[in-house]
Amino acid sequence: MTKNLRVKSSEYIDETNRISFKFNGKTYHGFKGDTLASALLANDVHLVGRSFKYHRPRGIMTSGSEEPNAIIQINPCTNRTEPNVRATEVEIYEGLEASSQNCWPSVEFDIGGINNFLSPFFPAGFYYKTFMWPASFWEKYEFFIRHSAGLGKSPTSSDPDIYDHRNVHCDVLVVGAGISGILAAKNAAKNNFRTLLVDEKNELGGSTIYENNEFNKIDNKTPSEWLKKEIEELKGIKNLEIKTRTSVAAYHQYNYLLARENLTDHLEAKYKTNKIRQRLLKIRAKKVILATGALERPLIFNNNDRPGIMLSSAIKKYSEFYGVACGNKNVFFTNNDSAYESALSLYNKGINVEAIIDIREQSESKIVKKIKETGIKIYWSHSIVDTAGYKRLNSVSIMKLSNDGTSVTGSKISISCDCLGVAGGWSPAVHLYTQSGSKLKFDEEKKVFLPNQNTSEQISVGSCGGDFKIDEIIKNLNHKLKDNLNIKETNLDNIKVETDQENSKRNIWLLPSDKPLGKTKPFVDYQNDATAKDIKLALREGFRSIEHVKRYTTTGMGTDQGKLGNMHALGIIADTAGVKMGELGTTTFRPPYTPLTFGTIVGRNVGKFFDIFRRTPMNDWHVENKAEFENVGQWKRAWYYPINGETMHQAVQRESKAARESAGILDASTLGKIDIQGSDASEFLNRVYTNAWSKLAIGKCRYGLMLNEDGMVYDDGVTTRLGENHYIMTTTTGGAANVLGKLEDYLQTEWPELDVYLTSVTDHYATASLCGPNSKKILKKIISDLDLSDENFPHMSFKEANIGSIQCRIMRISFTGEHSYEINVQASYGKDLWKKCMEAGQEFNITPYGTETMHLLRAEKGFIIVGQDTDGTMTPIDLQMDWIVSKKKYDFIGKRSLYRSDTMREDRKQLVGLLTDDPNIVLEEGAQIVSELNQSPVEMLGHVTSSYFSPNLNKSIALAVVRGGKDMMGKKLFVPMENKNINVTVANPVFYDQTNERLNAQL
């Protein structure tokens, strides 16, 4: 059934290695070395997909990464499936499966094809114009639009492959291994530059490697033969690393480039396992040599998108490199000599070429003469006005082109064909160049954008730098290499180049048809179905900026990023608007040059490595004892310890009661700890905290509040004076890193004269907080030789002691209001300390409690949590903590801001306690508070910041910030909820033990 269009064995195709693969469920055969595209073409399969908007049948158009049509789904319905892969880049392997996208039920019969006939109703901006009214219907429209949009299917199970990132440093990075890239890399490496050469293909040599045009000679050899010898010589050059199947995705500032190295995509499934699939190379290069080549342009004419219509250069590559004829009856359509090279290539292989249609009036180059000799019919000054064939091209209609190129005349000639090669000239691949921030200029003569102003150490060589003829390429490459690398001689100095290439070209951006434009379909962006008509409509509707036209028409917004049609879009806009292309500018080429997989982007940062987390030394104990955990910053903190299937509420109620009635223990290791030393340490603390520190005695602790310069509370914690010039500061768990950063900032930039040294010791100490009326007895059992009397070791003081041979620092401080001790030991002893406490506390029913109980206990005491009861807009005065703000100190961070007119307003939101009239109702944190229910709009007075059911008070309690709350003690307010209004009363935020008797309580 299937036809075989293999024409001649190619050295790049291993015909002894036959490979079977499936496309749209049907089995085909190809050979090792084939891409999916070349293998399909060898089987005479052109129709591979449907277009995005009109669902028109589309075929393989190119042979490289610029492919707009042949985008397919690889290995559908497996966990390795990948959408939007270009068939031209997939190397086939045994067992490969691929399928078309954007068609249903099949690519041969696609229901969506009806859009093609409805196309008059789908102009540019169709969605914007149609789905505007009524606005409330958008959600319904969106549902259907999303269903019909989108290409391909994302995988539904997790990716089995491994991805990797690697940092790479080199002196010279050469991007592209065509003739220019190879010669550049060779000369750089030979001159002792550490050189990296990358190319997206699996073979080196670019298009020159199959260049057998008899009119081009380098040292009397064909360019292909000569380059093979050069490539052979690359082996063994020191300082040169070569990476193939490696595509540079992005070129950022400071010569930072990202490249994706494909390692297993070309392998059979059984060889993919446990290997790195793709590696993202993060390259820092001192110099970059771009040798990215040029992309052939199509021509824009009516119905220029049928399967069988391809780039002329692609047809040549398929025949020369893959040994595949793309059709049996080939026709070329051109505006320059390139198509003649392709035609000659086919002719030499015995493939039938019916005709060449050239929009130029004539050309006298040797290659054209040669074609004339072969008898292939050439139609000068003709243009294609229409094509026919729904799923495969079957004929083209041509007419004579007027002298000015704007219309066609005479009678129509129909030429039967099954493959059409179009050659619209070449565009330098300047995508990476512009990504680097460098600027282009338009060359009016060559009609191309060329590199102009470099922003970093880089050069563009070969055709991406605007040299298209082999003699120009070699000459300018030599010159640029010497200049840029500062070298005196190269191996290019003495080579002899002969060429007969002509630059003659007739550029017409939009070719005329015998039909009016409105009745034609000249596609500019194949993937997004944007036609010349759409672009002209956008201009008629007032769009002028190229960026706006792009977005309105979606030209250049497909996965191919307009690699083929962008120049024509610009040309049509310039012609229509009557401006010069140079003045119009280009759209921005954004990274990535070719799409990256998500796997490559995230590398190893998946699963457990997605975000780092920190565990305390006691973590294993918490896990063994079935704690539930919560994330606090990067820490995993024990949240509560449910017993016998308790709910969180039940566990927290039990833990809270136990801590007040007997003894509780909390893992407080996550609190930030900063060691502060130096002769100005006391002065430093005076400046960073709101209260005074100079008079704090050695061995005493003090609570401090830290503000931002704007007067808002930033952090809090207890700081202990360990010695004359030595303090240990604690910070909130989440704020530790920022507090250290802020303190260092002030020390280095504002007060460099202070003799102060800061060291983060958060990870060096483990902390167990022992609390409750039995805490003293438990501590006594662990440390028998320490006098724990209130006289010797009162609240807010510090002792050093030993537990066996383990040194520990004990602070008698309390965040629960109970008699309590914070025991700090070297981190590695943390778990031992915890177990000792549990053992000693057993007879007192010591109860481990987590962060939730800690929050509840402190709320009973009205202690704030920075970040929960404050939000960056609360001053100490707003928190009713005036007592901690020193009136005597001349200055501290944030002091001046406390006297700004705004911070002194009486009606600021202030921290208050709230009690619900029904003691069993627990308010929701974040709930709004109002004083009037019948107002419209209702004035929001504030919101609930902390709310719990207190087992010790047997009622619901809450903290809240309320506008002018300070003066509202006893006032009735409302918390309106969805189904009911909750009556609340403003109360003292200290709900429990207002006289602080519990601090010394013991049983």
Binding site: G437, E744, E750, Y890, D891, R896
Partner: protein
């Protein structure tokens, strides 16, 4: 991604650094003697120039030192780097 020449460590990748806003805004020595407007000027007002800008940077994942940078915000060219306390280079 910039390549930043830390004056203490040498060239390092931008991801090791933290930007710290406009440079050469000195904290007033006697804040209490300033009017609300003068204090607000120090506290809130920052330039956001398209062009040459003086900035503070911190080698947060390195030596943790703060330093100054002159950067052209229009093309991200780093024109100069100098230590805290040193005079900015002449324009």
């Amino acid at each position: 991604m910039f390549l930043i020449n830390c004056p203490y460590c040498g060239e390092r990748d931008q991801q090791e650094f933290k930007a710290g806003g406009e440079a050469h805004i000195e904290r007033p020595k006697q804040p209490t003697e300033l009017s609300d407007d003068e204090w607000a000027e120090y506290l809130f007002m920052r330039k956001n120039i398209k062009g040459v800008q003086f900035e503070r940077w911190n080698h947060a994942h390195g030596c943790r030192k703060w330093f100054n940078m002159v950067r052209d915000t229009s093309n991200d060219e780093i024109k100069a780097i100098y230590k805290m306390g040193e005079k900015p280079p002449a324009q």
